[in-house]
């Protein structure tokens, strides 16, 4: 029901940011996700960052999946 893709924060100006999604830049609003830093990834939905993407969790998930797939 809701498309959302991860983008990397490159630049922050007040409540707006530039996010890199696969090499193109999109201006997004940080109104819903104010505590992000440059270099972090956020989920983008309808022009807004709606949540940070947790890199550590992602790595752990993948490691778990890999172990599962191998057994």
């Amino acid at each position: 029901m809701c498309l959302s893709v991860p983008g990397k924060i490159l630049k922050i100006e007040k409540s707006r940011a530039h996010a890199d999604v696969g090499g193109f830049l999109r201006e997004i609003s940080l109104d819903l996700c104010p505590n992000v830093s440059i270099g972090e990834y956020v989920l983008i939905h309808a022009g807004f960052a709606i949540q940070k993407v947790d890199e550590k969790e992602a790595e752990e998930s993948l490691a778990l999946l890999l172990r599962m797939a191998e057994t």
């Binding site: 029901m1 809701c2 989920l43 949540q51």
Partner: protein, 358 residues
Amino acid sequence: MKFIDEFRDKGIAEGLIRKIRQTSTRPIQLMEVCGTHTVSIFGYGIRGILPEQIRLISGPGCPVCVAPNEDIDLAIALSRQKDVIITTFGDMMRVPGSTSSLQKEKAEGRDIRVIYSSLEALKIAKEHPEKSVVFLAIGFETTSPTIAVAILQTKDEKLQNLFFLNSQKRVPPALLVLLQSNQVRIDGFILPGHVSTIIGRKPYQFIAEEFGRPAVITGFEPLDNLQGIWMLIKQIEENLADVEIQYRRSVHEEGNPVALKKIDEVFEKDESRWRGLGLIPDTGYRFKDPYEEMDACNFNVEIEPTKEHPECLCGAVLQGIKSPLECHLFKKICHPENPMGPCMVSIEGTCHTYFKFA
């Protein structure tokens, strides 16, 4: 792309499918609540690679599909007013109302603009102070906070010419109705990942506690889907019922408190009409007092009498009671070029997905 490509790995997918086959011992029905899951499941051909005894049914998780005709007819009536600009997400363009659609109205010369973010409606309103701009505020909890931000900014900037046609829906109370109606056996729920980034895990707790069904908040990449399905099967096989989070990289226990606060500032819970499900308590929002003046319902327009195709099964399809294949209209007179009901229009609609991929 980071966080996408890794979760499309063929080798791991094969391993997960093997795991699913090893774990699954009995026929079960899982509901993928969310249309984005339906698209992903069909898009990657996941149904075909699961064991036959695992049946996936598509739920009511497409905000376009569950918008009742009245909302679309109101949008159409507004577009016919002089000096009105309609702004909408592209999703709504082809949805048929009782006798027309926004796409058809655009062909008649109405000023209807597809935008990608609620804030663009604000921009258009500022650029056209002489016109009334209406934004079709459609969506689930993922989108609602973005609409709330636009409303708060409209107030802040004292814009007088921007209005919101409110067709937002809340997911958990609709699942409650599905479970209460008991018309279709659902052994477990694949819960929407992006709605949950906003609302967190707690609002779904009743699924496990009151109805004893397992549920897993799941991401949208193929590996997410497969892992979510595997987690559900595991719970079912072990006779457990819990609400788990598979999509940990984006969903936290408490959701996104900042976004929830924005929703709370602008809206309060209200009953809402769902296509096929009728009026359901607590599944919608109404404007809180200070923002009521922005409600597009304040326009005094005449709306045509609501008309739906009598044989359209979208209502039952949305609840997982019927499959599109059971509908007499499916593929015969109802197809993506000539949709009779919204499930054929929306890219995420069950009928559209069946038409395209099945």
